[in-house]
Symmetry: C2
Subunit: 321 residues, 2 copies
């Protein structure tokens, strides 16, 4: 949950003078997203989301995120479309923070998405990968493989809070992953954080993909690994091959994977598990007790990492070479 | 801001089977209210608010609050109307908490309401006082004058955190107020917490009165005192007589005050200032550092209290006897 910055009626009124959105009917901070402050703005014309960018988001990255959303929304995908002010600009300032207005997407997110939703997600992810081609700006993945060793080093001995000997065990697993990291696979713009809470559905129809604030350039199938990890494991930590197969089949119905991409699934999924394990562990250690947002348990991702490092072939994911 | 209880899509889905509200289009926790968890629920038919009652609200009081809202909404006032389940019941249970669904009211609240809004509030408050007559349940004011001495006693020496000698100074002021507390004035159901954040406007038209969870039986003009204190003081602590006059005039255009009621305004307004000073001081001392909701500064209300105890007649409020 998160509304870090309060916007009162007077500030909102002056801010909206720069826009042509109609008469405000309601305005409420919403408890979604952990990086930014989000307000639901309803006028007599439409629903909008007003996002205030808090300090964890780099200002210099905003034009890239905005471009990705514009390109995807204009390609027909269910993504928020940035709404320009009267002067055509997207990024504004409010309450001392950069901000932007977006179209609102209907739908609710699913804590444990079923097989049909996994298939829908696979198809949509492939569309996103294909339709981002016109994006001109570049953004390297700040949380990609090169960032993991420095992140583990910065955690240091504190890694032991999640278990004795954990520092060395993680270092070993990381070494194995980085050693086997594939080169030469297709790259492009990836979402990089497509967890179930960032995908909206009405029934089993996907109606929205949101929160592009980790989007970057990286290996496309790495994005699929992130989705498999966050969509296909059950609450008890077991891997649901049926869901994974549905997701991969959905993806391939739009963008068929090459043999090299399929072969790289286990290592890319392991890398994704390592990335979320490390950032969660870092947050776990560094979140003050009075924080508004509770840190997520890193151990879930250690279990996922172990799974990927134990599989003997891509058949484990419901896909063959 | 407050969403204390999380409701996932599966829990929401089963809960809504008991209702006939249409297909869910969106569902988001909203950062409004400090006592309960509130969700904005939009279906293909309408907008609703789903409120989950957290532990600061007494379950036994809920039927009274619900009845007040039903009576007022059915009388044509802009109040949330409880929406019954298919079986006709209002109070339900979700995620282990009592809860209810209400109609959603358009509008935004104003941090510093202007004179026109103060007049609108006065008229609406008078309508509320008149239209609550059919309410059959009773609820004594748990935070009325009889509660203030025990509250100050429970704060004890900790009152000194807001200033040296404050414990005795407050006890003196409290003694003066309780000694002069009026008897025999008209009573009825009062809102008892009608701060600007509980009143919605579009332009200067009042479109909603919300948050009835302090409503109770008490002196009607005491409610007016609460409104004067929270609407008519400027950010610098000065009293805006023009706003107060507009509010009183608006009120009297609907429900004329008796001479005894007018005469009692200074003492009732002082009592209201004492009530909010004491509860804020209590919260100031007792709120843990890691609380989701920051306590409000009690000193604002000490200034308001001093103002009321210094006036020499009702002319100070823009009203004569």
């Amino acid at each position: 949950m998160a509304v870090y910055t309060n916007v009162d009626d007077a500030a909102l009124g002056s801010f909206l003078e720069a826009y042509d959105l109609g008469t405000v009917l309601s305005f409420a901070g919403i408890a979604e997203g952990v990086e930014n402050s989000n307000y639901l703005l309803r006028t007599d014309r439409a629903h909008y989301i007003l996002t205030l960018y808090e300090k964890r988001v780099e200002r210099a990255d905003l034009p890239f995120f905005i471009e990705v959303m514009e390109v995807l929304a204009n390609s027909g995908l269910n993504c928020p479309l940035p709404v320009p002010a009267r002067d055509g600009s997207i990024l504004q300032e409010l309450a001392g923070r950069p901000c932007a207005v977006f179209t609102f997407l209907d739908g609710t997110w699913s804590r444990f998405p079923n097989r049909e939703k996994c298939a829908e997600l696979g198809r949509t992810l492939a569309h996103m990968h294909l339709n981002c081609a016109p994006v001109t700006r570049r953004r390297p993945n700040a949380l990609g493989p090169h960032a993991w060793r420095p992140l583990l080093d910065s955690i240091g001995d504190k890694a032991e809070v999640v278990g004795d000997g954990m520092k060395d065990a993680i270092a070993d697993r990381l070494h194995t992953i980085l050693d086997a990291w594939p080169a030469g696979l297709p790259t492009g713009v990836i979402h990089a954080d497509l967890f179930p809470n960032n995908v909206l559905f009405i029934g089993d129809s996907l109606t929205g993909v949101i929160d592009f604030y980790f989007a970057c350039d990286d290996i496309l199938v790495y994005d699929l690994g992130i989705c498999m990890n966050s969509w296909c494991f059950e609450p008890d930590g077991s891997f649901n091959l049926t869901k994974s197969r549905a997701m991969l089949k959905g993806y391939q119905s739009v963008r068929p994977l090459t043999e090299a991409e399929i072969e790289a699934i286990p290592i890319l999924a392991a890398g994704s598990a390592m990335r979320f394990f490390l950032t969660r562990l870092y947050d776990w250690i560094h979140t003050p007790a009075d924080a508004l947002v509770s840190p997520k348990d890193p151990m879930e991702y250690l279990g996922i990492l172990r799974f990927h490092q134990s599989v003997s072939g891509t058949a484990a994911y419901g896909i063959g070479l």
